[in-house]
Structure formats: C-alpha cells, structure tokens
C-alpha cells in the first residue's frame, strides 16, 4: 500500500513538473476559407493550407518577411499543421503568439491575442501549373551588366535592349549615359552619347527649315546601325576615371526616342551598378624603392663669397687731405695692408672687392667736413691700391660726418653726465648741424672734454669681400649645419650641393634626414634652373619608406612624352643632364601605383627596360593598367600575359587574386584552399567563388568565418559586386544578428 502510494506521489509530482511547461500552450482552432467573387460564400481551398504557429509575434513577423521574399526554406515555426479538406485546423501554441496561414502564393499573419478560435477568409493567389507565359517587353531592359573597379577606373559594360515597335524609320534614339557618385548621389559627368537614326530620319533631317546638319551637336555620335521598328541592342562599355578613389560610382543612362514631331518614349536605366567587382583589392605588392648611386651624384665644392671688415684710424693735417707724417698712420696702413695681402695671397682665398668709408668729426662746417672726408677717402684708396700688383676693385662709399650725438654718448661713457646733457640740449634746440657746432664750440668745457674725443671719430672703415674654393671637411659641414645659425633653415647662407651630399651621408635619423632632403630639393627648385634630382629621389624614397607619397616631387624629372629611360640632354650652355633616369621613373611608378593612377603607372612602366630589377614594378603596373582594358592590341595581350605570370608567382594570394579576376574559378578554388586558414582573405575569396557557384549557404558560412577573423571585411563585402545579393542576405539571415551583438 505504501509502495502504491509512493508511486502515485511520484507520478503526481511529475505531472506537476510537466504541467507548467504545457500550461502556456493553448489549442487554437479555426477554419481557413477562400474568398469568392461577388456575394458568393467563401469556400474551402482546393490547395494545401499550411498553418504555422509561433509562440511570439516577433518570430512570426520575421518568418513572414522571409515568406514574402520567397525564402521559405528557413522558417522557424514552433508548430505546424495542415488544414483538412474543409479548411479546419487545430494547433497548440502560446496564446500570446501568432499564426501564419500559407495557401499557394498567399499568406496571412494573425496575432492570437489569447483568443482560442481564429477563422481566415483569404483571397487565394492562383498558382498556375504548367503555364507558359509569353510576354513582349514594352520597355527597354538591361540584359547584362559588368562593373569592375580597378582602383583608379571603373570599367563597365552592359547590353541595353530596346524592344520591337519602339524604334521607327523616321525616329531618332538617343542613349545618354551619365555618372553618379554612389556616396553623394551627385551627377558627376555626362559620358559620350550614342545616337541611332532611322533610315528616313537620317535622309530627311536637313529638310527642316533653316536646318544645318553640321550644327547638330549629336552628329558626331550617330552610329552606323540604323534605328528600325525591330529590336535594338546597344552594347555599351566605358572606362570611367574615379574622381575620389574611396567612392564608388554608378552609371545611369537616359533613353529617348523621338520622331519628327515629339519624344514618344523616354526612360532611364541603370547600366552600371554601385557594387563593382574589385578584383585587385587583395593584390599584394610590397612597395619597394630605388636609390640612386651616391657616387654618381657626388658634388664638387663651389666657390663661396665671404665678407670681412677692418677699421683703421688715420690722422690728417687739419683742413687738408694729407696724412700726418706720424708713425701711427704708417702702422695703421701697414696693419690693414698686411691683413688684405694675407687674404689675397693665401691661395685658398682671393680678394674680390674693397669698399672704403671715411668718417669725419662734426667740428667745423658740415659741407666743408663732407668734402674733406671725400678727399681723404680718395687718398686712402690710392694708398691701399698701390700695394696690390693685380687690379682690384676698390671703391669709396659716401663719407659720413658723425653727428654731435656720438660725442654725447662718448661723454656719458666717460662719466661726464652734466657735459653730455648740455651738449644734448643744444642738439635738441637746434636742427641745423652748423648751429649746433657753433654753440658747442662756445662751451667752456669744449677744449677739455670734447676736443680730445674728436680725433677718434675721424676713422676709415674698410669692408672687403673674398672668395674661397677651399672645400670644407665633412665634419665642418656637419658642424656648420648643426650649430651655425647662418646655415640653418632660414639662415643667411645656403648650403651647397656639396654640403648637402655630405650631410645626406652623415645624418642618420630618418626624420631629420627627410627634413634635409626636403630642404635641399625645394631650395634647388627655387634657386636653380633645374631642381636637383638626387635630393628629389632621396625625398621620395623617404616618403615610400613611410608608406606615403608626393607625386609632384619627381614630376619635373619624368618626361612623359619621351618613351625611354636615361635620355641625355644638353642645356644651351652645353651642360649634360638626363631625363627619365630609370630608378627615378621606377620610384614615380611606385607612387602612381600607390595612388591608384593605374593608367599613368602603366604608361611609365612601359618605359622601363624589362630587366630583373624592374620586373616586379613593371608587371604589377601592366596588370593593373591593362587587364580589364578593352581592345587590346596583340602586343599588349602578350605583354599582359607575361606580366600576369610574374604577378601570379609573386605570392599565393596574388595567384588566387589573378585567377579569380580572370574567372578561372576551378584553379582559383585550389589555390584558395591552399592558403593559410588564419588569413581572412582566404575565406573572403572562397565566398566569392561560392557566390559564383550559387552556393549561398556555403558563401554565407565562409563570409562569417572571414568576419570572425577580421570584422573590417564586412564593409568590404557590403560594397563588393563579386558577392551576390543572395549570399549577402543569407549571411545576414544566418549570422547577421549574432555579428551585430
């Protein structure tokens, strides 16, 4: 008895545990009928009626969205049943959930809202079985479209079909493509239109009053194919230069057909998508650089002009241009002469010019003093020049009559403040110097305090300039550069190419070195007939090492009109120089390649010789520049084939990129399979191949694998035309919400 009681207790307990999990479900019943036309009573459907039950309304709405998109194979209903032949159904589901009834192509969602009976009267969509529908398009259609983003250009092509009975013999069709920036929505430019004239239209256009066919702006675009009432296929392709390398671009085309009187057909079609294939987005190219041989560009020291100055005191007979015959004068002259001779005959220097300035004291009349100073200056000039065996340019500056304010300063320096103030007061009271002189000479202390100062004011200043060709040692150059403000940027003196050449070899800090290269290049650009190529190349190499660029630096050295490298030229004076130095061209190509200027990079690459040193940069430029170009010549095709070989062999990733770009899907699949599993690019490229195979689930899975490794590929996918919309949607459905968490 006890045992039976225990068993009952256990069973009851189990029932209690189970009951709560079933208590939330209710049996929902109802009937599904088909709405009839007019006042006829609704009838049960002849087709199968599926009833799906969802415990939550949101889950039901999510599945309804999928059903509406015809993606019904991933529905996630909590319960499902099929109505009987009379339309009755019964389903157990949470009373706060929802039902979806599906009949043929029609479906309806209804929230349960705790009601236990739900009847449906649905206007069923009629599913036609084995029906062949033939329809003729009445509007133009775009039948195929291919868009490839090479980095710098968009290569697009499409086929636009204008159906029958739109064109006529006496009508004109204008096809006008225009480019839109996908990011901004702006119309960027209008491309070349195409015009198709009907036979009669072409014959009769210029029968119009005052009509001149030569003034028809569309005349250059009239195609050979006439417009007829039959089908017209416009095979369009274009290469659009991207204005902003980070943006994508689409092409729309306006289509207009007009007869003699009016436009009777107008349409606008998208002939190129925003979602372009980007075949080169994973192409690996290690941007190398090319240094010029320093010994080839070693500079010689140049002649440099330097300045010097000496002051000499000479005493003259009062009021005359004659030297006092005293030994001090002879000593002063000897001192100056020795200084100048030492410079001139040293061998390293050569005197170029000497300037003398005579100074007169302010006592006496101003005009007389001035003339006397001039005469004395000429005397000094003759005394100096007779010591030189060779002709040397000596000239006299205008003499200077020193003002009484200098005497005031001298008195103050001697401590004679009172006397200084007295003289200063006289200066301020009298503007004319002769009046000042007259009054100062009457002062009591003139003879004792002022007169002794005056002889010291009667001096000669000798300024000279001399040239040196003596080369500085590298250490001296470095010392000047680092410590002498005259040689620093903005200083009074400029460094020569010789100085820079040595500094380039001595400065090792990359930041400091780049500043130096920049300074050398821009100074030469500003001050010389031709900028210095060595400094320019050093600067660009420095930029490339930092993974940046400036296309303008090497531009003066590359003549795009000369299709060869190392071309010798001569200036008018006969000096030799080179344009298109091969390493300089190679560096410029690298910069253009990085800047996605593929056309220019390709054009320059053809200049370079096909040697080992330049093979890689040539090949990458050729592949990017011409792989998707239309109308290649046989030579270009051969050149491209060789370049592809080089690029493919440069790395496994590049091999896969090229194979995918060329639609060699089977080979690409093998190559991609061999790539490193930790590389997100492997999974991305696999997703591209899955997309081409229309294996959407595998594509979504591979995409998710890629995004798990690197989320930035999500943005890449969103703008990539190589991944189909179906794969993108599949990924979004399967993994999108988890990724956003």
């Amino acid at each position: 008895m006890r045992r039976i009681y225990g068993i009952c207790l256990i069973l009851f307990a189990m029932l209690l545990i189970a009951a709560p999990s079933r208590a939330q479900y209710k049996r929902i019943t109802g009937r599904v009928l088909e709405k009839q036309f007019g006042n006829n009573k609704p009838k049960p459907f002849e087709e199968e009626v599926r009833v799906l039950g969802y415990n939550t309304v949101s889950a039901a709405k999510k599945d309804k969205a999928m059903i509406d998109k015809n993606s019904s194979f991933m529905l996630d209903a909590d319960a499902e049943t099929v109505a009987d032949e009379n339309g009755y159904y019964s389903i157990d589901i949470a009373p706060t959930g929802a039902l979806i009834v599906i009949v043929g192509t029609t479906n309806e969602l209804r929230e349960i809202k705790k009601r236990l009976e739900h009847n449906f009267v649905i206007e069923g969509g009629i599913a036609l079985k084995n029906t062949v529908v033939t329809a003729k398009a009445k509007v133009a259609t775009v039948d195929s479209m291919e868009v490839i983003d090479t980095g710098s250009t968009i290569e697009c092509s499409s086929i636009l079909t204008i159906p029958e009975n739109i064109g006529r013999d006496f009508a004109r069709c204008v096809f006008q493509p225009f480019v839109i920036d996908c990011q901004t929505g702006d119309t960027i430019e209008y491309r070349q239109p195409r015009v198709y004239d009907g036979k009669d239209y072409a014959l009769t256009q210029d029968r119009r009053m005052f009509y001149d066919m030569n003034n028809d702006v569309l005349k250059p675009y009239i195609q050979g194919d006439p417009l007829t009432s039959g089908l017209l296929q416009i095979r369009w392709s274009d290469s659009i230069k991207k204005r902003n390398l980070k943006h994508s671009y689409t092409c729309m085309a306006g289509l207009m057909v007009a007869d003699y009187n009016n436009v009777y057909y107008k349409d606008e079609k998208q002939v190129s998508s925003c979602l372009a294939r980007r075949p080169f987005q994973f192409l690996e190219f290690s941007t190398g650089w090319f240094e010029l041989d320093p010994m080839q560009y070693k500079e010689n020291p140049r002649a440099e002009l330097r300045d010097g100055a000496e002051n000499i005191s000479l005493s003259f007979v009062v009021g005359k241009a004659e030297l006092d015959p005293n030994p001090e004068n002879a000593q002063e002259l000897e001192r100056l002469n020795k200084k100048l001779q030492d410079i001139d005959q040293s061998g390293d220097y050569q005197l170029k010019r000497i300037a003398l300035t005579g100074y007169a004291s302010p006592d006496g009349l101003y005009d007389k003093n001035y003339k006397l100073a001039q005469q004395r200056s000429e005397l000094a000039k003759s005394l100096i020049s007779r010591n030189f065996k060779r002709e040397i340019f000596i000239y006299s500056n205008k003499p200077v009559v020193v003002g009484w304010s200098v005497v005031v300063d001298s008195l103050k320096a001697k401590g004679m403040t009172e006397e200084a103030e007295t003289v200063d007061a006289i200066i301020k009271a009298n503007k004319i110097i002769d009046r000042q002189t007259a009054q100062i000479q009457k002062l009591k202390f003139y003879a004792t305090a002022i007169a002794p100062i005056l002889p010291k004011l009667r001096i000669f200043k000798c300024e000279y300039a001399y040239q040196t060709t003596r080369a500085l040692e590298p250490e001296q150059i470095l010392d000047n550069y680092l410590h002498n403000p005259d040689f620093q940027e903005g200083g009074k003196k400029m460094l020569s190419h010789y100085d820079y050449w040595h500094l380039f070899n001595m400065i090792t800090d990359p930041v400091e070195a780049e500043k130096l290269y920049k300074r050398a290049f821009y100074e030469s650009k500003k001050n010389e007939a031709r900028p210095w190529v060595y400094a320019a190349n050093k600067l660009v190499v420095s930029y490339l090492k930092r993974d940046t660029m400036d296309l303008e630096v090497l531009r003066p050295f590359v003549d795009i009109n000369v299709p060869h490298v190392n071309v010798e030229r001569r200036t008018f004076a006969g000096h030799k120089y080179y344009v298109n130095i091969d390493k300089v061209v190679a560096n410029q190509i690298t910069e253009y390649y990085k800047a996605e200027h593929n056309d220019t990079a390709y054009y320059l690459a053809k200049m370079l010789p096909d040697v080992e040193e330049f093979r890689e940069i040539r090949s990458f430029s050729i592949v990017k520049g011409t792989m998707f170009k239309k109308n290649k010549t046989p030579e270009q095709k051969e050149e491209l084939a060789k370049a592809i070989e080089v690029v493919q062999n440069s790395s496994p990733i590049n091999k896969a990129v090229i194979q995918i770009a060329q639609n060699r899907n089977k080979e690409a699949a093998e190559t991609v399979a061999s790539l490193n599993d930790e590389d997100p690019r492997k999974w991305y490229m696999k997703a591209v191949l899955d997309s081409r195979d229309m294996d959407f689930v595998a594509g979504a899975t591979d995409l998710d694998h890629c995004f798990q490794l690197d989320k930035k590929f999500i943005v890449i996918m969103e703008n990539d035309g190589d991944i189909s919309d179906d794969v993108k949607e599949m990924w979004q459905d399967m993994y999108g919400s988890a990724m956003s968490e």
Partner: protein, 187 residues
Amino acid sequence: MSRFKIYIALIFCCVAQIAGAQQIAVKTDVLFDGLATPNLGLELVTGNKTTLGISAMGCSQPYGKDINFLAVQPEFRYWFNGRPMTREFIGVGAILASYRLQWKNEFYRGFAGGVGLTFGYTYNISKRFNVEGYFGFGAVAYRHFDHESEVPLETYYNDGDSKDYGNVTGYMLMPTKIGIAVSYILK
C-alpha cells in the same frame, strides 16, 4: 501668249529670290514627260511642315496631235508627318492654262483657271532624290473659242473685234493634277 510667258518667268524669279537657307527642289512629272509634255517644277521649303511650289508645263503638237497648251500651277503643300518633302501631304493649288487644240471636229482656243486640292505621297529614295505621286481635283473655269473646223474663226468675232476672248465660258469640276514626279533637292 507672250505676256503669259513673261508672267511665268516673273513668278519663277520671285520664288528664286525667296529661297535662302531652306531647301529647294526641282521636279518633273514623268507621266507628262512620257506624253511629250515637258514640265518643270520648283518646290521651296517654307516651314517645318510646309512647302511652296510652282510648276509649268506645255506642249506643242505632241505625237502629231493638234494640241498646244501652256499651264502653270502654283501650289502650297502641308506635310503631315513633320518633315517637308517627306511622306503624306495635302496641297492647295491653282491652275492657269492657255490652250489651243482640236478635238474631233471642234477647235478650242482659250484660257482656263481654277483651284484644286491635291493629295499625294513622297517617297524618299536618297538624301536628294524623291519620287512623289499625287492626284488633285478642283474647279476650273474656262473661256474659249469653240468652232467647227470648216467655219473661219473670224465668224465668231463680235463686231470684228479681234480682242474678243471667246464665245464659250463655263466651269467644270475636273482633275487638276495627276502624276508621278521625280524631284531632286538642289541644296
């Protein structure tokens, strides 16, 4: 008759003066050419759908028949489809003719004038060559001498006045134009 010729020449000159930048075509009706009735027409574009033309024809004893006549037909045409000298048109024209002919035993000599409506279609063979077919019908008034061949013409002069223009007047509804013409656009 000579005054009549002068008038025709003047009309042609006026038409030639009007022609500027618009096209002008010369044409000949090959049916009448076949009937030994040489004819020549000029057509000038006057608008995007209109042209003005004038043609003259005449014959003298064609195929030995005693028929002499000279006619001039100015016409204004409207082209339906939007280009002149192309496809369907309708024209309003006049006819002025001077004739002298013998029909069975009757002599006729006089003038006729009328207006008519023409319908036609121009087929473009090339940029400059067209072929057009047309048919016109209208009302024509006439005044002529009508006498039997044995009776001298002077019998019918009133008061011996040689300037009398005829003893028969009337009008009739009749085709004013029929033909297949080839035209050449000069410029």
